[in-house]
């Protein structure tokens, strides 16, 4: 026996009848939508969950942390053991960037144009002997 029925008054019994009747009268459209909602919930529950590290919510934070770590490690390794000023180190890194982004430099390297270097060396030697 349900505890609700232990000592229910006529009022409670009638109220229960009325409420149950109102449930029976729920229209077909609402029943259909509830049915769809239930199946959607069960499908979501059965779908495999992605691991925490794949979670979209954590990706921006993880990306930012990784980028910060990379920058920190790069700067730490670039900093010379000696007393080179920070500005010099920054200038050197800017030059490095120029070299890397300079398409001419890459063309020379890829072309394997050794004669240019020979010519440049000869020019330097001639200059030194002339001078």
């Amino acid at each position: 026996m349900s505890p609700v029925e232990e000592s229910v008054t006529d009022f409670e019994r009638n109220a229960r009848t009325v409420l149950q009747e109102s449930v029976l009268r729920i229209d077909a459209r609402t029943r259909s939508r509830l049915n769809q909602a239930r199946h959607a919930a069960l499908e979501a529950a059965l779908a495999p969950r992605s691991s925490w590290w794949r979670s979209f919510t954590l990706m921006p934070a993880a990306g930012a942390a990784a980028a910060a770590l990379l920058v920190a490690v790069t700067l730490w390794h670039r900093e010379p053991a000696g007393e080179l000023p920070v500005l010099a180190a920054q200038a050197a890194s800017v030059e490095d960037m120029d070299l890397l982004t300079d398409s001419e430099g890459l063309d020379l390297m890829e072309g394997g144009d050794g004669s240019f270097y020979e010519w440049a060396a000869a020019q330097a030697e001639n200059g030194a002997s002339d001078g």
């Binding site: 349900s2 609700v4 409420l19 229209d27 909602a37 919930a41 979501a44 529950a45």
Partner: protein, 196 residues
Amino acid sequence: MPPAVHGDVDLTDSSAQSRSRALNQFLASVELRAFKIAQAGLRHEDDALDAVQDAMLQLSRAYADRPAEEWKPLFYRILENRIRDMQRRRTVRGRVIAWLPHRGEDEEDEPDPIAQAPSLEPQPVKRLELDEAMGALEKALGGLPRRQQQAFLLRTLEGMDVAETATAMGCSQGSVKTHYFRAVQALRAQLGEFYL
């Protein structure tokens, strides 16, 4: 030992497939009453449907592995939290909308033919009596404080005992008894001993 049964749900089978079936059975067994309870709290059909759907989703995702006998109080606890959230959001929205210019009712949808479909109904005279009683009860329920309304509906409509109701409401059994008693007193004062 006989199998533990919760309503129509067999609680002894633990495989994932059977668990899903059991959860489906459980949700199917409560969804209509849950909808009525949400509707009483929100007084809006679409909001009530959303609240029930959210509660189903959260129960399925987070508590499907819990023993099935815990599902009902957990489900109604989730549903109640959802109803409360929606009520709060609606209050805030209402304050914001009060500052906005009035919009017309042009966006009213066409009547849905499925919504007009008749359901199983009793004889006309009895139906009229029930209609009146239903209208009066729903109106009186709407005037109750939310906790009283919740205690009354969970116990009277859902048939939960005091302990289950206390878990669903997140309060002591003594509080449930108090809320329920006050609800019955208030409803009876408004409706009298309405006989069917």
